[in-house]
């Protein structure tokens, strides 16, 4: 059974590679580049993740970014985060500093407002950065969230 799954898996990826090589798999939109695999890797620093996702890693604090999130999350598997900014935002990212993969999600904006909300998983109590890319620079607001029960495996 394992062998079969393996064969199936390698066959699919083989086909995909050929299709990509032949230019059959066109990126369906111009706005975003290919999915940034490297940005969501585990065991990397928040800076490395942001570099891979947004092309910059230096952040300065900004008072124009608001995070709406619980101070204490009872269940780390579902932590609702809302980010709002008055800055002209090109992208918004949510970073849970101590997560295995610190970057949880980010959105590229092209005409949409400075708002992003998502529910994230948190392995343990940690600072959460709301990172806004505006004018090519990264700005952040930070909130510490205490987690009673972790939500990353375990």
């Amino acid at each position: 059974m394992k062998r079969r799954t393996f064969l199936k898996g390698s066959l699919t990826s083989g086909v995909l590679a050929v299709a990509a090589g032949a230019g059959l798999l066109k990126p369906n939109q111009v706005l975003a580049a290919a999915y940034p695999e490297a940005a969501f890797k585990t065991e990397i620093s928040p800076g490395e993740a942001l570099q891979a996702a947004l092309g910059a890693s230096d952040m300065s604090d900004s008072g124009d970014i608001k995070i709406k999130a619980p101070l204490q999350a009872e269940n780390g598997a579902v932590v609702p985060i809302k980010v709002e900014t008055s800055l002209p935002a090109e992208a918004i990212a949510i970073v849970a500093v101590k997560n295995p993969a610190p970057l949880t999600t980010f959105v590229n904006l092209n005409g949409a407002g400075g708002f992003y909300s998502a529910r994230i998983k948190m392995g343990q109590s940690s600072d959460v950065h709301a990172v806004v890319k505006s004018g090519g620079k990264l700005m952040k607001a930070t909130q510490q969230i205490k987690v009673t029960v972790g939500g990353c495996g375990g």
Binding site: N28, F40, A101, F115, A118
Partner: protein, 104 residues
């Protein structure tokens, strides 16, 4: 297997919030099945694209750090009644889904 994708558009002042809910396990690949003791393979949404009247206004990227049954929200500007909003997503196993709605 089709997964349920729901969209809701909510007016917030002069802007509109678009909320999308997808029924999806968002497995990290690090969790063990309690019955078999085997690792549950990773399965998560990677991309979610929002269109406002056919124009892509936001593209969200995510991985398994987002909770099960993700609820993702963005804001669209200058929306008028009857404007069309589309969302489509795809995951790491090649599954995808979409939903359409109109601004009220």
């Amino acid at each position: 297997m089709a997964r349920l994708t729901k969209m809701k558009i909510k007016k917030a002042g002069d802007k509109h919030q678009v909320l999308v809910l997808v029924n999806h396990p968002m497995e990290t690949g690090r969790r063990k099945d309690s019955k078999t003791g085997q690792l549950v393979p990773a399965h998560f949404i990677k991309n979610m694209e929002f269109k406002h009247n056919g124009k892509v206004v936001a593209e969200a990227n995510m991985a398994s750090g987002v909770s099960k049954n993700p609820l993702i929200g963005i804001e669209i500007l200058n929306a008028k009644a009857g404007d069309k909003v589309d969302v489509s997503w795809s995951d790491n196993k090649g599954e995808n889904g979409s939903a359409q709605s109109a601004v009220k």
